[in-house]
Symmetry: C2
Subunit: 369 residues, 2 copies
């Protein structure tokens, strides 16, 4: 349940016990600064997505650089952030469990919290939780801008739902959630631009109809690392929900014209077997350390080495025009997808100049409820 | 880091907070009994694999039915089991980190522990840890019987390694680890039989050569849920390392002539969005709850419903000749692969006759080090 700390400050990186989640602090800080610099001249704010990092420490570092708050996907993540000092949290997702809504309403005593809705059936549940807690909760309407997952249809349906929220005594219409996650992983810039153009049209139309009904829309939230310059360009989004920009991953690196951030997140693994004459080395990190939903990890800084054939606790390293690593060697692997990878670990090991500088808890690891 | 308990004994299953790991206790106990009955008339013992269940409670239930001990893949798993009352543990994997070997040697004060080796370079490391702790450690030689992962070549290389272990003052040659994991997921019985026939030939040859060198081989370990009747048939294996038999999963169900065990493990998920006219319902369990390395989960007991398009925290339910579930409904999903799925949760929710009977900790969750 609780994982042992894999390192102590002052250790060399090669002394860290494996598998471990390594954060290259120089690259990480450069990413936070780059995003802050990118957003500063626009009207838009960063509401960084904590489903990526699951860490109040990282959330506060983002907010120290101007982020307006954090998004989460789950009430349990909101709790961990609020308890860790984050005072403005949007659950950018639907919540329909009365117990979870009661937890969210209770949390609004120590932080500004908001939640999304995409169905009239959810409104009385949220109203009831807010009333029972004696609070007023902010509710955003999620519109489906092309992702084909959650969300009401843009236009009249969304406006009707906003009106219903605004008319609920303990609720406040918080704005629109207009997120097109799928668009970020379209491979060419043209495909991504087309998808976000479509999302922007739907959002603009809905905003106009809200205005016609006299409904003020304080927030338009959405966008992620793979598409946010396009959302910014439209001038419609007021809050950008990027998360991965802080870490990056192997999948974003496969996009044409990938986002301008550095790889800062790695899984450190150790070679624990290298059968003689087999042409392979085997490391101690497999499915349980490195989810493969977006492809297998890359071997960092060791050209010619390739990670493949993961099983639960093993991965196989093969070499092309390179020497295989020996038993005991440690390798930095670039996760295929940072979000579920971070969620496998209790500790970030922060490294600078080859030495461990800090350990930060992945405090919301496993917070799925 | 620590997850909230999703239920309390006495609750109805539909009151359990989602996502949650549900253990159908009737099916689970039937599986444990079926395996015990299957092994009783053979000379082989069960050394159940705890990398599947990660629970000292389940380990002790298996041992109460005759299992001789447990296997684990990681030292951290061995620690959790030993601290939870399991007194005979094999790390069925190579360990080459001096710190981890020191932890393993220290553990031998409260449990019988053994570890595998597949390289002469590892022997002085294990010897040093055993000597420093003032213990004698049992070391098995892992031979590659066809999996193409870890393991020395069967025959002379394996015998030389066994001799080296036997000659180390603080080590004892514990036997052979002969595991062909890949064979279990070959789709037809003929392919599986061919692979294990090959593994048995390699094992028999190595045993004969060990005997010729006067090396006693106390244990031959290996086999898993998908192949163990074949290993039993050979008469060579003394310890069967099945793990999944207790739970089963969607992937084993895709084999022709799948193993004769019942599905006992589920992830309970809730519908949190069902966009009008979209033909889909969206549940609150995605990659972070249901790893897809062996395919997507099945919807249990609801013919016509299909789970697909997982993202980090969402899955999409579609329907064919069936009504879509409504917002708030809870569904049992059958994991594609039980081992990494169990590793996502801190709690088993044990259910019988529709009511929560017990909560057991997944105590070694995340124990990767």
């Amino acid at each position: 349940m609780l994982q042992r700390m894999p390192a102590e400050p002052g250790m060399r990186e090669d002394e860290v016990e494996t598998p471990a989640l390594i954060l290259d602090l120089d690259a990480f800080e450069a990413n936070l600064d780059a995003m802050a610099a990118r957003l500063a001249p626009t009207g838009a704010k960063l509401r960084a997505h904590a489903k990526t990092h699951k860490s109040p420490v990282i959330a506060r570092l983002q907010m120290a650089r101007g982020a307006v708050g954090q998004c989460v996907q789950k009430v349990a993540e909101a709790e961990i952030l609020a308890w860790g000092g984050v005072d403005d949290i949007l659950v950018s997702n639907e919540v329909v469990s009365p117990r979870k809504l009661a937890r969210l309403a209770a949390l609004s005593g120590i932080a500004r919290v908001a939640v999304c809705a995409d169905d009239p059936a959810a409104i009385p549940l949220i109203e009831e939780a807010a009333e029972a807690a004696g609070r007023r909760l902010s509710v955003l309407v999620e519109i489906d801008v092309g992702a084909g997952r959650c969300g009401v249809a843009p236009g009249p349906e969304a406006v009707a739902l906003a009106g219903r929220i605004a008319a609920s005594p303990h609720l406040r219409f918080g704005g629109l959630q207009a997120y097109h996650g799928k668009a970020q992983h379209l491979r060419t810039p043209e495909e991504r631009a087309g998808a976000i153009r479509h999302a922007a049209e739907a959002t603009r139309r809905t905003l106009e109809q809200l205005r016609q009904q006299g409904l003020d829309c304080p927030i338009v939230g959405g966008a992620g690392t793979g598409s946010f310059p396009l959302e910014l360009e439209s001038g419609l989004w007021t809050e950008i929900q990027a998360g991965s920009y802080a870490f990056m991953d192997a999948d974003y690196a496969r996009n044409d014209a990938p986002p301008p951030f550095r790889q800062s997140l790695f899984v450190l693994a150790q070679v624990m077997s290298a059968p003689k004459g087999s042409g392979r080395a085997v490391v101690d990190a497999g499915h349980k350390a490195l989810p493969t939903d977006s492809g297998t990890p890359l071997v960092h800084g060791r050209p010619g080495l390739c990670y493949g054939r993961p099983s639960d606790e093993h991965g196989t390293i093969t070499a092309e025009d390179a020497a295989l690593p020996a038993i005991g060697e440690k390798l930095r692997l670039v996760p295929g997808h940072c979000d579920p990878t971070v969620d496998r670990f209790d500790w970030y090991v922060g490294v600078r100049d080859g030495r461990v500088e800090c350990l930060w808890p992945v405090a919301a690891r496993g917070a799925m409820g």
